[in-house]
Each structure stands twice: as structure tokens, then as C-alpha cells.
């Protein structure tokens, strides 16, 4: 049963794109915060800031295709009391401009929000160059930086709202595809907190980002067909990570699986293992295994690269078999 405290509602029909949630939040906050400045590196439409640019032309800066400069200009603007939000694809920002994010933003504790769009295999047909599968690894190591990986449209709205109200650097991962919904407008997003989706006693499944929906299918199938009771946790905050919630769950179920749309090396699974390093529970990591993606339909890519619900089910069952 879905956790009633979170007002969850699985909606497979009205699909929405996570990136639209970011655009919506910025548009909503533009008026209330005249010092909210949105910057873009020639990807207005793709990053959903087009409407903001039209409605708040004085609060919008087109930088051109120059992500390093965008990070620096944003830090300069932030040093004068502005809340700045930089928008590009995650492979470029924080990919190409990592040094600027490190020094001008994180080391300087600048009030800059980085929205990295088109993350994961969901970027599909554009191919490996545009599928960010490493962004969490490279941002997770930066002090002062908060990292949010929203599960759906509504959670993205709240993530951007939260980032605007938080003083300091934040990285938010965004996705292009239209996807189902699990959270509702009245589902809370608490700073640094994991979300308990379903309670269980045999296994903890931890998932971050919209790969959640593949994981949810797998979890339902295993529960229904094998009678295994699974505790499902959504992890919107990669940093700070909710260590307490993870330890609490694993101390009950004694074993865990982490599912992510990112390289296993350095990603969400690594973050979970760091949090559980002093505990003694086996944890299986499911994600991209040290390979680049390729062009294709996201569903086919999920299958080929081992993160479709079918592949997840298979891997979880193998893991459980070995734990017997």
C-alpha cells in the first residue's frame, strides 16, 4: 500500500515531463522574487525557460552556447544578492563547466541553482553524447552543493521552489520524457528526507529519479508473484542523503537494492553504500555498468542497459536467491 502520509497517487494516464515542472516553478516564482535571475545557454525551449524569458525579460539572460561563462556570470550576479538559476543539458552543465561549478559556485558558496536537463537514457535518440549518466558522480563530491533528483513533475516543481528558498548552491537533475506521476501537489518534499513509498519487511528497494516507475513495476511483480514484502524508498535528495531513513529500513529488512539511471560508479548506489558503510547489510546496485549509452527509444535502451522493469525484476530475484 502506498504510504498515506505522502498523499501519493499513481497516475499512469496523464503523463507529464519533469522539465515542465522546472519551467512552471520558475514562472511562478518570477513575480514574487524580482531578484530571481534565470540564465540559459541557448536552450530556452529545451530547458523550458522560454515562457519565463517572455514574461520576465529583465530577469532573463541569454548567455549563448557558453556554459562555463554562464556559471561564472551566475556566480557574479549571485554575489550581488540575486538568486540565479542556470539552465542547460546536464552533460554541459555541470558536465562541461565543472571547474566553474567547483570554484565560482561551490567553493564560493554562491546562491546559484544548476538545473541539468536531459539526464539519463531517457534522452534516447540523441545518443550517448547527450545522455548524462555521470552528473551525480561529479557533483556529489563538491562541498556545499545540495543535489536533488526529482521523481516526477510535481516533485520537480517543489524541488525548484525549495532551491529558490534555500541560500546556497543546488544541483537539480531534470528529464525530457513525458512520464507517469506518483506524487501529488500536496505531497511534501522535505529537505534532505527520503520518502517511504511502501512498507515491507523482506527487502529495501531504494530508487532515485523517474527510473522509479520501472522499479515500481518490478517491485509489484515480485511482491505479487513471489510473495516477498518489499519496502520501497524514493530518494529525491542525493545530498544530503537521509542516512537515518536508510539505516532504519535496512535494519528491518537486512538487505537492499539501489536502482538508478546513472553510472553505478559514483552514483546514487555509491552514495547509499557510503551512508551504510558502517552497517553490515548486503546491497545490490542496479544502474549503468561502466558503459556509454547509444541512440534509441528509451524503453529499448532501458532493456539493453539493464534498467527496464523486466531487467530489474530479474536482477532482484537473482540477488535474493544468492542471499538465501
Amino acid at each position: 500500500m502506498l504510504n498515506p502520509a505522502l498523499n501519493l497517487n499513481l497516475d499512469l494516464i496523464n503523463k507529464k515531463s519533469i522539465r515542465d515542472g522546472a519551467g512552471f516553478s520558475l514562472l511562478k516564482n518570477g513575480e514574487e522574487y524580482p531578484n530571481l535571475i534565470v540564465l540559459c545557454a541557448d536552450l530556452r525551449e529545451s530547458t523550458r525557460v522560454e515562457e519565463f524569458a517572455k514574461k520576465f525579460p529583465k530577469q532573463f539572460i541569454e548567455i549563448g552556447v557558453a556554459e562555463q561563462n554562464m556559471a561564472g556570470v551566475a556566480a557574479g550576479l549571485a554575489s550581488c544578492g540575486n538568486i540565479t538559476v542556470i539552465n542547460s543539458f546536464a552533460v554541459f552543465s555541470p558536465g562541461r563547466n565543472w571547474d566553474q561549478v567547483r570554484v565560482s559556485i561551490c567553493y564560493s558558496n554562491s546562491n546559484v541553482k544548476i538545473i541539468g536537463h536531459h539526464a539519463g537514457l531517457l534522452t534516447g535518440q540523441d545518443g550517448a553524447t547527450h545522455q548524462a549518466l555521470e552528473d551525480i558522480a561529479i557533483t556529489r563530491v563538491l562541498p556545499n552543493l545540495i543535489i536533488i533528483n526529482p521523481v516526477d513533475y510535481e516533485q520537480m516543481v517543489k524541488a525548484v521552489d525549495l532551491a529558490i528558498n534555500y541560500e546556497g548552491p543546488v544541483y537539480i537533475r531534470s528529464y525530457r520524457e513525458k512520464l507517469p506521476q506518483i506524487t501529488a501537489a500536496n505531497t511534501p518534499l522535505e529537505f534532505g528526507k527520503a520518502q517511504l513509498i511502501t512498507e515491507g519487511i523482506d527487502l529495501t528497494v531504494i530508487v532515485s529519479g523517474p527510473i522509479f516507475f520501472e522499479a515500481l513495476n518490478a517491485v509489484s511483480e515480485i511482491e505479487n508473484e513471489k510473495g516477498i514484502s518489499i519496502e520501497l524508498i524514493n530518494l529525491p535528495f542525493i545530498k544530503p542523503i537521509d542516512k537515518e531513513a536508510l539505516v532504519r529500513s535496512l535494519s528491518k529488512t537486512k538487505k537492499g537494492v539501489v536502482i538508478e539511471e546513472h553510472q553505478i560508479h559514483g552514483g546514487v548506489g555509491s552514495a547509499v553504500l557510503e551512508a551504510l558503510a558502517e552497517e553490515n547489510y548486503p546491497v545490490k546496485l542496479i544502474g549503468i555498468s561502466d558503459t556509454f549509452g547509444e541512440s534509441g527509444d528509451p524503453k529499448d535502451l532501458y532493456e539493453k542497459y539493464g534498467i527496464s522493469s523486466k531487467q530489474i525484476t530479474k536482477k532482484i530475484l537473482q540477488f535474493l536467491e544468492r542471499q538465501k
Partner: protein, 281 residues
């Protein structure tokens, strides 16, 4: 004070700043000598004539900003800040030591009055463009001075920022390039030739001034002129002598990233004093 008196006073200040730089580097046993000495005259002019800043209120919204992009010459930044009253002179000797606010490359949140963190080259120009854009958005009248160097212009990010500032005709933005023709491994001309630099900036939409960056009269006139130009960003290409004032350091790229030993420091101070006295004659 007449401008002649002001210039005399600024020359004295730059002499004092150079002595502080030598003392800091010698005590720290590391740091960058050549650029710090070469830029002392420009720092003296900015901190003690042109910058509208108040050490008692370093975060005043309408303050002028000095953005140091080539952060490795921070000894002369710290010497200027201390002399201006941002912190006591004794603290200069904590430079590069553990628990110090005077980091080896400047850190904004460590020391009030340091506007930006720098060290990785090229980042300060973008930062300064952002600061100048804020003035445009908010209608503040402050000026943004960015100090950068010729070697730093090897970095592509510099040109991204220069292109943006030129294209947007950002006013109140004055970039001073320390053109001392050296970088860490050798002569700028040999590592990666930048010339013709003036034409590059002109073609990027900047108003270009070129001066002798160790001549206080020329510095004074150029900065006075730069703040009157509002139609586009201004670059002052300051031809400086690396190591200026210390005879045995001048023009030597070997002194880019190295401090003097105790005995070299003594000779350096003597050289600074001799040259300062000769100039006063």
C-alpha cells in the same frame, strides 16, 4: 589634493605595497612574486584613488567591485586591503599558513572584502561580467573593475565572457589586463602568442586603452578616462614589467611563481628603496 600630489602619494603607496609583497612571500616561503610586483601601481591607484569602497562596510550594495581574476597575484591584493583598513597589517604574515583568512589563492567567504574566489584562470572575467550586469539590472551606479592577465587569456572561458560583454555593450565594466609578457613556463609570445591583443578586444566590441602599467601618471589618466565611457565595456591593456622595482626579478619568468629567500628578500627591499629614491629625484 591636486592630481600631481595624488600621483606622488600613489607612488609612495605602491612602493609600500611592493615591500609588503616581498615580506609576505619571504615569510610564506611560497607565492607569486613577479605579477604581484608588476601590478602594485595599478592596485595603489584603484584602492587609494578610484574604488568607492568602505572597509567598515565591505558588503555595501553600491560599492565598486574589484574582481581579481588571476588570483595568484593576491599578495598585492592582500597588501592593498590591509593598508586600506580591511584587516590589521600583522595578519599579512599569515598568508598561506594554516587557519589563515589569506588563502594562497583568494577565497571570498574567508575574508570580507575579497569579492570572488579565483585561482583557476579565466573565471574572474565571467564573474565580473555578472557583477556588472547586476548594476545594469538594478540601476546601481557602481563600477566593476576586473583585473586579469595576458597568460590568463589562453583560457577559452575568458573569451566567452569578453564576447558576451562586448555583444551586450555592458557599461561600467573595466577590465585591466596585466600584459607582462610572461607566464609560468616562459614568454607569452612563445607559449601562445596573443598579439595583436588590442585588435582582438576591438573586434569583440570593447573600448581599448593601452598604457604603461608601471607609470602612475598613465594609470591615473587611463582609469579616469575609463569610468567616463558608458557605451561599451573598457579594457585597459597595461604593459607592465614583471617583478617591477626589484632589479634582479624584472622581466624574469622564473620569478612568476617563486618567493625570494631571506637573503634575496634583503636585496629585493634594497633594490625597491633605491629605485623609489631614484624616481623621486
Amino acid at each position: 589634493m591636486t592630481s600631481v600630489e595624488e600621483i606622488t602619494k600613489l607612488k609612495e603607496i605602491s612602493f609600500e605595497l611592493r615591500k609588503s609583497v616581498i615580506k609576505m612571500l619571504t615569510h610564506a616561503k611560497s607565492g607569486h612574486a613577479a605579477g604581484s610586483l608588476g601590478m602594485a601601481d595599478i592596485f595603489a591607484a584603484l584602492y587609494f584613488k578610484f574604488l568607492n569602497i568602505n572597509p567598515k562596510n565591505p558588503y555595501e550594495l553600491n560599492r565598486d567591485r574589484l574582481i581579481l581574476s588571476n588570483g595568484h597575484i593576491c599578495p598585492v591584493l592582500y597588501a592593498s586591503m590591509s593598508k586600506k583598513g580591511f584587516f590589521p597589517e600583522e595578519e599579512l604574515l599569515t598568508f598561506r599558513q594554516i587557519d589563515s583568512r589569506l588563502q594562497g589563492h583568494p577565497h571570498n567567504t574567508s575574508l570580507p572584502g575579497v569579492e570572488n574566489s579565483s585561482g583557476p584562470l579565466g573565471q574572474g572575467i565571467s564573474f565580473g561580467v555578472g557583477v556588472a550586469m547586476n548594476a545594469q539590472i538594478t540601476n546601481y551606479k557602481y563600477k566593476t573593475f576586473i583585473l586579469g592577465s595576458d597568460g590568463e587569456l589562453n583560457e577559452g572561458q575568458s573569451w566567452e565572457a569578453i564576447m558576451l560583454a562586448g555583444a551586450r555593450k555592458i557599461p561600467g565594466l573595466i577590465l585591466i589586463i596585466d600584459k607582462n609578457n610572461i607566464q609560468i613556463s616562459g614568454k607569452t609570445q612563445e607559449i601562445l602568442d596573443l598579439d595583436p591583443l588590442n585588435e582582438k578586444f576591438e573586434s569583440f566590441g570593447w573600448y581599448v586603452l593601452e598604457i604603461d602599467g608601471n607609470n602612475m601618471e598613465e594609470i591615473y589618466l587611463a582609469i579616469s578616462k575609463s569610468v567616463t565611457i558608458i557605451s561599451k565595456p573598457v579594457v585597459i591593456i597595461a604593459n607592465t614589467i614583471p617583478g617591477f622595482g626589484v632589479d634582479f626579478m624584472e622581466y624574469k619568468f622564473e620569478w612568476h611563481g617563486k618567493p625570494p629567500s631571506e637573503s634575496e628578500a634583503k636585496l629585493a627591499i634594497e633594490s625597491l628603496e633605491k629605485n623609489y629614491k631614484n624616481e623621486k629625484k
